[in-house]
């Protein structure tokens, strides 16, 4: 559940009731020497704004995004900036992107947007660019280097030579478990750009990468997957502290590969369950430590939400604001060297999945 948020060190108080005072910004001693400010940013993702006809849009998805925006605006002290993690639209239409952008325009603070496949495959991101600028770029904030990638690209052949219409191409990529789909990738051109971008940095600089698809291979059938994930990881691996934050999966996931931590963010639209493996593809799911409560069909917002991301000592603590549910925090544990689901490490703390009769 959402709670009043203060700047705190990553693990202290995570999961406990928040203090109600506006604390001064704390200076944290960095693991790699020196001092740097802790800070927080807001992460909203996967709104899937969907046009029915004319000025009529799917109410449920509208409500999810509106609610996230309204609540994010109440955070005190204010977040440093906001990330939208992709899939603003459902079918990439100008009307959908405009409608979503209008809702997002109410956000306080600077907005950075990540490209999702639902935003891209109608006009290959043309209109999206008019709203949000380049598909990939980097920026620096309070000693942390942030990289925005477009990780939902696929082969030239599939993109340009397979489908009779742009609409058909969009529909094929929007399908889940669709054998006509194609695995996502970052691609050569962007990886070259990434290598150049990283070349300027000290290996001790904390890095946060925003992508829409996971930059790790989880489940190909649903494109919980990036085909050149290993190549991207290899570019990031030399750095001491790398954090990848991705959307697309509509569920809480976290993982550690070498120095790279992975955190997913929730959708505001609807939740996906963990996919069941099927015969044609091996499943590479991270170990499931706590089963997520299944969405209650009555509460449309159940198992959806938004996040506050704390950056402390160059590592991420993702604080999930879950509607009609308990707030969860997945934070990097410096002792363990990987992210942990803070409230659920103790078996006694775990909530059993709901039983329906």
């Amino acid at each position: 559940m959402s709670e009043f948020v203060t700047r705190r060190s990553v693990l202290a108080g995570a999961g406990a009731g928040a203090a109600l005072t506006t604390l001064p910004i704390s200076m944290v001693t960095l693991a790699f020497g020196g001092e740097r400010e802790d800070f927080t940013f807001t992460y909203i993702s996967d709104a899937h704004i969907q046009q029915i006809k004319g000025a009529s849009f799917v109410r449920n998805w509208d409500q999810g995004l509106k609610r996230a925006v309204a609540e994010a605006n109440l955070v005190k002290p204010e977040s440093d900036f906001v990330i939208f993690g992709g899939d603003l639209a459902q079918l990439g239409k100008r009307e959908e992107l405009d409608h979503g952008a209008e809702i997002l325009s109410k956000l306080k603070g600077k907005l950075h947007a990540v490209m999702g496949e639902h935003d891209y495959y109608l006009d290959l991101g043309d209109y999206w660019s008019k709203l949000y600028g380049p598909h990939y770029y980097s920026f620096d904030h309070k000693g942390v280097h942030f990289i925005v990638l477009n990780s939902i690209l696929t082969s030239e052949q599939w993109t340009f030579h397979r489908w009779p219409t742009a609409e058909q191409r969009m529909l094929e990529m929007a399908g889940l478990d669709n054998p006509n789909g194609s695995p996502f990738m970052v691609g050569d051109k962007q990886r070259k750009w990434l290598a150049n971008d990283l070349a300027k940095l000290d290996k001790k600089t904390p890095i946060v990468v925003f992508s829409h698809s996971p930059l790790q291979k989880i489940y190909k059938g649903w494109n919980f997957w990036t085909d050149d994930a290993e190549d991207v990881q290899a570019l990031l691996a030399p750095f001491d502290s790398v954090n990848v934050i991705y959307g697309h999966v509509h569920q809480i996931q976290y993982n550690q590969i070498g120095s790279i931590s992975f955190n997913s963010v929730m959708a505001t639209a609807w939740p996906w369950p963990y996919p069941q493996s099927y015969a044609q593809a091996e499943s590479h799911l991270p170990v499931l430590t706590i089963p997520m409560n299944r969405a209650d069909p009555f509460f449309e917002r159940d198992a959806t939400g938004w996040q506050l991301i704390d950056i402390g000592s160059g590592r991420v603590a993702a604080r999930y604001q879950l509607w009609d549910n308990d707030q969860r925090t997945v934070a990097f544990d410096h002792k363990a060297g990987h992210p942990v689901d803070v409230a659920y490490q103790e078996p006694t703390q775990r909530r059993l999945p709901q039983t329906h009769y």
Binding site: M1, Q63, D324
Partner: protein, 378 residues
């Protein structure tokens, strides 16, 4: 169907009920209600219940001697102050909240519209001190009377074995709660139809209304009905658009101001009852959690036909108004065109026909316990 006397409030009924509770039989519950849980540290006894009854009705526990618990929870108004929109306290001061019925409150898991109190015992102490309710500066005047009035001296001794300074607010709270635990009622026409298999207990319209209640209306999602009993509440908090729709544009300022005031130690109890705008923050004022902004507790629907007006602020006059509000996806006449952004995910337009809405009202009218058929609501 003969109208019985309000059995729950006669001493004889209290005696028999408390004996059953004593025996731990758990079988005393009227048709349609689950077994009642009695706290281990506050067992029901006839003396304690009689004492609580007297405390509940005593006007002297208010700053000007004009207000008792029973002023807003009147026995003959199904334990509400219907038809008042919001309750009147000392000096005719009005608060921000509509008095909920005490009937079956024994089953709730939190108290007040925003759930800021966890037990009946805890709840009972707060209205005494609220400036717009009973207006006492402290609980001392209550204890002075409790320790000196011969009737009370005798009863506190019988009920708790305590006299003089041994009598504290603990005993007062326990006695009031014990009395309130006798105010339970089921056996409505609905109960006889649903749990007693009496086919003719309710009308055809009400039966159709029940189908809307559990089907297209989705009312049952929060107003819970179980296999063998029904409390018509999930004991949770939901933003259904009442009050908060009108305050929606002030939420950023209100929430920031309230949290700031709370951090400086403002009394939430007073803040939500005396400041209409703060009141609309609902459960948020208790938990500071954004997803319960404008959310209030799901009330039971038992006896709802005799406890008008409706909602935390008494803003809806009739059951039909309530049904229309839900049918509009959480909007009432006079609300802004846009529902508030914090609306519960369970609220959406229902597309009910006029007939379905009337049937729903007919269904809700079957939830009245015979003892309250004659409750004064106008």
């Amino acid at each position: 169907m003969a109208v019985r006397k309000r059995a729950a409030t006669t001493l004889a009924a209290m005696l028999s009920l408390s004996e059953l509770c004593f025996a731990g039989a758990g079988l005393a519950e009227p048709l349609g209600l689950p077994p009642l849980t009695i706290p281990q540290d506050n067992p029901q006894t006839a003396d304690k219940i009689a004492l609580g009854n007297r405390l509940f009705h005593d006007l002297r526990f208010s700053s000007d001697g004009s207000v008792a618990c029973a002023t807003c929870h009147k026995d003959d108004h199904a334990f509400t102050d219907s038809p008042l929109r919001t309750s009147e306290g000392v000096g005719k001061k009005t608060g921000t909240r509509n008095a909920p019925t005490v009937i079956n409150a024994a089953y709730f898991t939190s108290f007040f519209w925003d759930g800021r109190s966890p037990t009946l015992e805890d709840q009972s102490q707060h209205p005494f001190l609220n400036p717009v309710e009973m207006g006492l500066p402290t609980h001392e005047p209550i204890l002075l009377i409790a320790r000196s009035d011969p009737f009370y001296v005798e009863l506190f001794k019988k009920a708790f074995g305590k006299t003089g300074d041994g009598v504290t607010m603990e005993e007062v709270k326990k006695a009031i709660a014990a009395y309130e635990r006798t105010i339970i009622s089921g056996e409505s026409p609905f109960d006889r139809w649903r749990f007693g298999n009496e086919e003719t207990a309710i009308s055809e319209a009400a039966k159709r209304g029940f189908e809307v209640f559990v089907g297209q209306g989705r009312c049952v999602s929060c107003h819970v009905i179980e296999q063998n009993q029904a409390l018509f509440t999930d004991n949770r908090f939901h933003n259904i658009g009442v009050g908060i729709n009108r305050a929606q544009f002030d939420v950023p300022r209100l929430s920031a101001e309230f949290l700031n005031a709370k951090s400086k130690g403002v009394d939430v109890d007073k803040a939500v009852l005396t400041d209409p705008k703060t009141s609309e923050l609902g459960r948020f004022a208790v938990t500071d959690q954004f997803d319960v902004i404008g959310a209030f507790k799901t009330p039971t629907l038992r006896n709802v036909a005799v406890t008008a007006p409706y909602m935390h602020d008494g803003s809806l006059k009739t059951l039909k108004d309530v049904v229309k509000h839900y049918n509009n996806g959480g909007r009432s006449e006079g609300d802004p065109a846009q529902v508030n952004d914090y609306l519960s995910g369970g609220i959406r337009p229902l597309n009910l026909s006029e007939q379905q809405m009337d049937d729903l009202v007919a269904f809700m009218e079957t939830l009245t316990t015979p003892a309250y058929f004659g409750a004064k609501t106008r």
